[in-house]
Symmetry: D2
Subunit: 344 residues, 4 copies
Amino acid sequence: MVKVGIVGGTGYTGVELLRLLARHPHCDVVAITSRAEAGKPVSALFPSLRGHFDLSFETPDNADLTQCDLVFFATPNGIAMTQVPALLAAGVRVIDLAADFRIEDRAIWEQWYGMEHACPELLGEAVYGLPETNRQAVKQARLVANPGCYPTAVGLGLLPLVERGLVELDSLIADTKSGVSGAGRSANVAQLMGEVGESFKAYAIPGHRHQPEICQTLSRAAGVSVGLTFVPHLLPMIRGIEATLYARLKHPEAPDLQALYEDRYADEPFVDVMPAGSHPETRSVRGANHCRIAVHRPMDGDVIVISSVIDNLVKGAAGQAVQNMNLMFGLVETAGLEQVAMSP
Amino acid sequence: MVKVGIVGGTGYTGVELLRLLARHPHCDVVAITSRAEAGKPVSALFPSLRGHFDLSFETPDNADLTQCDLVFFATPNGIAMTQVPALLAAGVRVIDLAADFRIEDRAIWEQWYGMEHACPELLGEAVYGLPETNRQAVKQARLVANPGCYPTAVGLGLLPLVERGLVELDSLIADTKSGVSGAGRSANVAQLMGEVGESFKAYAIPGHRHQPEICQTLSRAAGVSVGLTFVPHLLPMIRGIEATLYARLKHPEAPDLQALYEDRYADEPFVDVMPAGSHPETRSVRGANHCRIAVHRPMDGDVIVISSVIDNLVKGAAGQAVQNMNLMFGLVETAGLEQVAMSP
Amino acid sequence: MVKVGIVGGTGYTGVELLRLLARHPHCDVVAITSRAEAGKPVSALFPSLRGHFDLSFETPDNADLTQCDLVFFATPNGIAMTQVPALLAAGVRVIDLAADFRIEDRAIWEQWYGMEHACPELLGEAVYGLPETNRQAVKQARLVANPGCYPTAVGLGLLPLVERGLVELDSLIADTKSGVSGAGRSANVAQLMGEVGESFKAYAIPGHRHQPEICQTLSRAAGVSVGLTFVPHLLPMIRGIEATLYARLKHPEAPDLQALYEDRYADEPFVDVMPAGSHPETRSVRGANHCRIAVHRPMDGDVIVISSVIDNLVKGAAGQAVQNMNLMFGLVETAGLEQVAMSP
Amino acid sequence: MVKVGIVGGTGYTGVELLRLLARHPHCDVVAITSRAEAGKPVSALFPSLRGHFDLSFETPDNADLTQCDLVFFATPNGIAMTQVPALLAAGVRVIDLAADFRIEDRAIWEQWYGMEHACPELLGEAVYGLPETNRQAVKQARLVANPGCYPTAVGLGLLPLVERGLVELDSLIADTKSGVSGAGRSANVAQLMGEVGESFKAYAIPGHRHQPEICQTLSRAAGVSVGLTFVPHLLPMIRGIEATLYARLKHPEAPDLQALYEDRYADEPFVDVMPAGSHPETRSVRGANHCRIAVHRPMDGDVIVISSVIDNLVKGAAGQAVQNMNLMFGLVETAGLEQVAMSP
């Protein structure tokens, strides 16, 4: 059994990680920390977990995380980087669900995240945990940077085209929409149901932190730098991301795109290329670790349109983290991730 | 492995049954019928099931349900009663998720359901599948009438008081609220999101079919006939029932109600009496087979207030049906029902 | 034109008051205060008001509210009582949308609101602004206590029965449900969409501040003290309250209740008794100042069931305040309140 | 007073038209038809209208629409074209809220709408009722084709760029999202709340009828044919459209786009160019006839991003129809359309 610790388990990625780990056959959660909720049973904060955990939150000072085989950070950005070096030194492996290790280029990271990086020497070692691009590296990693939610949906949607160099790489467009759980569980007027219910808007059009992260993924796949216009939107619902992606074919005589996508993901347990003509719904992946993708070429023109959906808390966060854990510890990659999506 | 057939699997209880059975360790779904969708793979109708089932819908005529050990009816009311006798004669056991066998008194059934009963001779044999009242009978049953959603939430909420005769039995009140999935998946203007989204209303105040069903359960428990005012409401959300129940104490010096409830359900795997002072949320049972209950005595007065929540599609339908199947076939009662509620 | 000031206009009742006053033919909003937003145009905080107001928020210190004919307090509880005496002394009339003057009995107020009252000498003068019970007094009032949202829906629903003494007054039950805007617009994890979306729960079962307010209204109407069990619930939607009310007839031979209700409210411009057999929907009053009520006697038993709906921000707050203003200043009672409900 | 008739007033555009006309100072609704609801008072079908209309639905055969000055068609596509010639011949003017007269090119219309056009001779006369492009023609029109909802949001968003020829016209992209009321009020499993609540998806990626309509508007403005990729999505909410529009600048040294938009719409009463850096929310126009637009140039690149929001039932349907009526009858353009958006 993998002994697991969780730092900062009071947010939505934290409770989702607990939901998934509760039924995982090969791991035990032995510690969970929260300054604010120290002493409180996790099932008192999250009644959905009643009967599944006897664990209580501990202060970070009391929790002996060095007893763990693996520590997940489900903290705000900027926390993991202050604690990871000591854990690695103690032989503990780490998966950071926040953004501290996602961007390899320190200057870009510091520009977008507005703080100095506390351990830039680890940026090179950290493995970007998108198994569909990086499975072997994840298996060996001491430190995995779990991808952002939008970057997962957009990356998986565009990779087959970008890897093959079929589309113009300087003018990619990602129009993305997320449920409100992506904004986290902290007191904030802007996230009240009275503010975001029954309404819809774009946000961060001038620039969003996930743009450089996506560009890093796509540029690595392309071998050259890509240009991406990225616009996120906020949906009046809780879970789910849909990304509609636009890319221009370089040549009108393109290969069969349906076959291209199906081949690319044929061996991927968590990427489902839907039949030609499909329109994936976010509910088709609610609570599941799958990304479902449809690829279209409207009116046989030169603009390819891809629709890609994930559950932002599962494949976009906690589920992908468990997938990475499975890889790191030599477990079956799908262990603990066999949930069927809950629909309706 | 139990060989399972499903009649009428295109509604919300059907897809939920498939979701639960997909991961059940001891059963195989070998046939599923639908006239309207015959020939279509279940995963084409319900993309959430992609990768979990290879099954296609068959016409009722083609499906050989007599090969099954158990057939679930997830049909509209009035269908099961026409097919059950032949199945029982062929040695197949049956769980009806509709209402055909829920009311033992034929006259009452015919009055509320507005049709003649096709096999009244089975009304006496059919076992009402609320395991918390009826576990031994369910184990032996050939034919189980799976309870309605409201009756499950209301019944479990009131049973401890009623069984002990602590409250006035002629003036019980159940103010209940259900998500829209309870109204089913058929074309109906009244259930459009444009009609029921962002709005709330009571319905069926003059009378609702679940009222006699609840009275039957409570009267059996009390040993005398009970009087119940039952008012259902429609919530602008998909899953979940909350029942707020009002009962008047016969004597001001009542026993410790928290202890009474905890004792009554101490051995029940799917009934969770929450700590004193709690207010159960429907999301705490979303996708799970649990009923969570809190009991209050506001201002130490003589009115007891109970709040009881279930997922109408799980403990209120498909989950309870699986629980009954487990009992009927000698399986572990919780097999296939270990899901953690999905919250948020 | 009535010169109007608003103290604390950054919450949901504040913006709703602005929405209604924007089109009011006989008043001008001349000042609005907010410490937090001082200097900001109201249309910058609330883009829905763009084009309707040139006004900016001022600090309370800078705003000369004594120039106003009327000041609305749309503040948290406990603010108005510290400022009202000076305004009244300056000849300004006041409508408090918070709770400071709703309860005449100081001890009860202090118990439920957990603070000392700052001007108890005004509790006797303040007029409870439910025009359907108090129209003449409102017209003369210097200080109006605008009723709470639940008390408006429950009070209007029960008054015809209570005034006539037709029901048992010691065992009234009000099962009420409110949209989230009733909880206000302040940073609070419990009101995040991730917490309250797609879920439903009761709250404050042990006791809620609106219980004594409702009892005061009903006791005045009955001439004796009434007993009420009051349970509020939180709906996953933004606007609207539905109250389902249960009362037991004293005598089986009751008068025609439909006629009783229609007669009681025949001259009320904002109370609509729906046809017999109706089930009012909250959307039928969304954005409008109406209360719609249906009265039922299920199965001709002795329990009367009333369903009463309002928009908590309109008849439950800002609209009723405008109605009170109209009465106080001799305007047509419906001025500025002719909006048709927005449905869907 | 303009005497108004409405054909087919039982859908969402119908009830919205009634909501707006109820308070319009210069028109009377004298007749409304519906085969299915003939004889029923409109306020029985739509309780939100109680107290505002005494009108009942009539069968089309009984209604004497030739007494009207103006008839609105709020019917499914294909109805108006069979009745308009007779009405025009009788001297009645017509606004069709459906699509029968939106596309001037008969062949294109017949291809997308899958039927033969019943009066192609009127396609040339019909005026496309987008006042911001066509005000003078609308004033004179006998027959106005009221624009589609998406075409209004997209057209108004792109017109300033397209009219000035600032962007590449062969690769425009419109990623649009609509609330469910856009799909109408007819019995349809796909529009049940259980199907579309708490979920999000693209639809009609291969092609949607609004694409040629938008291209017609933009091509007229540009003077050349434009190329547009148009992808609609379905939002889990009732009202509102947001369109995120992507256009590539022809030259990096573009004019000040904020000023360009503000100038273009300076005299338009219903188009609001928001301050630079804004992100319009659909709720900021809920129930109002406004289109709010923000224009961005992310990271000073060559891709312009516009976000445009309307209420699909108001500026996208009934409100724009009233605006057109006002123009046709020489009324103040904003008459009956002064509602403040309802937010929250």
